[in-house]
Symmetry: C2
Subunit: 218 residues, 2 copies
Amino acid sequence: MNTTRAEENYLKAIYRLTKTKKQVILPNLIAEKVQVNPASVVDMIKKLVRKELISYSRKEGAKLTDTGQRIALNIVRSHRLWEVFLVEKLEYSWSEIHVIAEQLEHIKHPDLVDKLDSFLDFPSFDPHGDPIPDKMGAYPISKKIFLSTLSIGAECKVISVSDDNTDFLNYLEKLGISIGTKIKILEKNAFDDSLSLQIEKKNIITVSRKFADSLYVI
Amino acid sequence: MNTTRAEENYLKAIYRLTKTKKQVILPNLIAEKVQVNPASVVDMIKKLVRKELISYSRKEGAKLTDTGQRIALNIVRSHRLWEVFLVEKLEYSWSEIHVIAEQLEHIKHPDLVDKLDSFLDFPSFDPHGDPIPDKMGAYPISKKIFLSTLSIGAECKVISVSDDNTDFLNYLEKLGISIGTKIKILEKNAFDDSLSLQIEKKNIITVSRKFADSLYVI
DNA sequence: CCAATTAATTAGACAAGCCTAATTAAATAA
DNA sequence: TTATTTAATTAGGCTTGTCTAATTAATTGG
Ligand SMILES: [Mn+2]
Ligand SMILES: [Mn+2]
Ligand SMILES: [Mn+2]
Ligand SMILES: [Mn+2]
């Protein structure tokens, strides 16, 4: 199946939304993810239905077909492998890689992604802690949970982070938090659900509930 | 200056034509290089003139402005560095890399190309033997000549090869010729200008004048 | 159950890049 | 120097992916 860059971005968006949100995938939701007008999404939905990459109805929303799923999975795999490359080989920082991978994920050539995978020695997780599906589309397992689910006194390690919000990534970088950082829960404030955390047994910070709901730890 | 993929391909084409051909760069020539209809070239020429990336007149043909030249040079640099990456790190073969680099050369991010350059340890030539301009646009020097200019008995080493003709690259691969291969001129046939060559002191082959005019040696 | 709001869809437009089929200009050869 | 050929240009059209401004459904609060 021949897919354009735009089609691939929509397929990936639908795939990710299906994984994260537990709702029906409707135009508004996709529009927000792809950063595009809902009317444009309706156009693209028609095109993807025509190419049998998704099914769509007002009731069921957009759903990937097997082919669509396969393509989306390949893009995700490619994206995350390139992110590993950018951090480990080109020494990019955490927060810069997403936009570059957003372009690199669309480079097409037989074996390119597999060769990259092999060159990087088959990593299981990307620099944001997200799992990298293997050649067959199988995900490595990880038992990550939200920081917000831990109770006072618990210690944990940052394992994953939303890769598509630069503000969040920059904030983390400013706080000195990255994959592997050790965090201890000192206090939970009932008033606004904010948390006091100790970072790497050193500095103490206070973060919002929203923050704690965005950070995966183990 | 913000440039699209198509614009960059045209700028690169004009740049390469200016370097190789000693003629005025007119639509037909560009059309052939970019593999596009001459009418489309006329459209794009207008656009590039509007953006002040080239100048154009029927008499003078297309000429890169300073900005246009800078962009073209960066694309060439990016293309050749990615080719090195594909061969040295991903173990692609000689003849496969051009089409992939044709896509990779357009990936944009501050420092990406320089980081790649550094990761590859600042190579001077790409896998086809073509020089890689440095960050400032300066080319490394090489004193390559055409195989066809040598006389009988001469020995030489393959140093460079046209990277954009897959047929030629495949033919070379079949003959066991690549960068670094040693060649001795055994005979030159006045009748059709064909040459007898000995490859790596072993097998003897006969090649056409066109062939000998396409191979750079030292 | 109806009015108000929100979401999906349609209609119509536009930029980028390409094409084919005229048309015009230039070069060449008789 | 005129006729022929070749090359450049224009005219008009198409696809992809986007937009804004209607319009039509759905949902929901009163
Ligand atoms: Mn993308
Ligand atoms: Mn990521
Ligand atoms: Mn290209
Ligand atoms: Mn090359």
